[in-house]
Symmetry: C2
Subunit: 208 residues, 2 copies
DNA sequence: TTGGAATTCAAACAAGAGTTTGAAAAAGTT
DNA sequence: AACTTTTTCAAACTCTTGTTTGAATTCCAA
């Protein structure tokens, strides 16, 4: 296969992922990408058929990575008690608070998408959101074994959203007047707090 | 005072608010705004000293409106039992799901800001977030009267974020494979479900 | 090593962005 | 009514955007 071209392709993808995560699609210029990736201006059109194509590729890669991550996590969780499992689920969601790794970049890209979803993202969601929803749904089912379908769905979405305020507003929350700190012990404390509330919430009788 | 110029100012503000809410700052062009507002191209620079200034004004107006809204709501809630109050709080948060009014537009603008906050927004948050946080904190305090400061802060933020998944992903949630509906009875059902979980969560002993 | 395909490159292109300009029109003031 | 200020307008300007071009270079198999 064509080796050398792969490295510029990879360089572009890496630079683009970072910039798209930070500034969004509209806020990222092709020139900024090629500068960061240190490749020629025309490379993006040659390898990805334009900015759109590049973004689609980045989005797909991010989605694939998140899905695989989720699958691994699902296995780990299967062996725990439902309370331990839920805490582990929350802990994993909060993890990007402490380290700025690839996963937190992917989360940022998805955050941009939730404000104004692109067609690509929509189809990815509707076709491949099963692993995400599935994990949450399994978890919820262990607390609400007799719930109807709608309750199950809504509870799963609710569970998936438990951490989003903290993830999304990390920067502002660490400033005045909140002044939260997000080092490892604090995030562990936060994990326990949220887990406690969620477990208590789901444990009470679902009758209404 | 200068009357006639106020109407074009207002026209611009109105059009800009809608477009910024829908497409974000980068995605909205000055030409799109003046076309929607049916004013001359140069009007934005004349009245607001450029696109930046216009956006700052729109953001400030949105923030002011939300704050006043919140103040009114705070009084209503003061007279209820803590459970009723919390339900009312959730209900109000979910309200944009059913109607696309001014408030839901403001929410959208804020959503754009949470992905990549502008300096203006940052200062608005740090200086004028008191009404929002205050209302949530009062509510939380009625459930956790003995909690320490950190717990109180985190619980308030957690409470404020309870509905954001649904608000943010309304469009995707109403499509396959979730197929949620967001008419009035459904949203009322959702209000009760979330309220139930949150109340149960906060009601359990805060000891950990 | 050589020939043809794949890849890189600097430069230019057209379209769109936000802003500026200076004259025309309207409004307000005395 | 005359004069000044405020407001509108069409046009042009400058800068950035994404994309294209065609030659130069590199790669790789025969």
């Amino acid at each position: 296969m064509t080796r050398p071209s792969e490295v510029t392709r990879e360089r572009i993808m890496k630079a683009a992922e970072r910039l798209f995560a930070e500034r969004g699609y509209d806020g990222t210029s092709v020139r900024a990408i090629v500068a960061k990736a240190r490749v020629n201006q025309a490379a993006i059109n040659y390898h990805f058929e334009g900015k759109d194509g590049l973004y689609r590729e980045v989005l797909r890669a991010a989605f694939r990575a998140m899905t695989e991550n989720q699958m691994v996590h699902a296995r780990e969780i299967g062996t725990m008690s439902r309370e331990e499992a839920l805490s582990a689920f929350i802990r994993r969601q909060l993890h990007p608070l402490t380290s700025r790794d690839e996963t937190s970049r992917h989360m940022r890209i998805f955050n941009w998408e939730t404000v104004r979803p692109t067609p690509v993202f929509r189809s990815l969601i509707s076709e491949e959101s099963a692993p995400f929803m599935g994990l949450a749904a399994d978890l919820v089912r262990r607390f609400l074994p007799d719930a109807d379908q709608r309750t199950l769905t809504v509870a799963s979405i609710w569970l998936l959203g438990q951490c989003s305020v903290f993830l999304r507003n990390r920067e502002q929350l660490s400033e005045s007047p909140m002044n939260l700190v997000f080092d490892e012990p604090s995030v562990e404390w936060l994990t326990r707090a949220i887990s406690h509330w969620v477990i208590a919430g789901l444990s009470q009788s679902p009758a209404q």
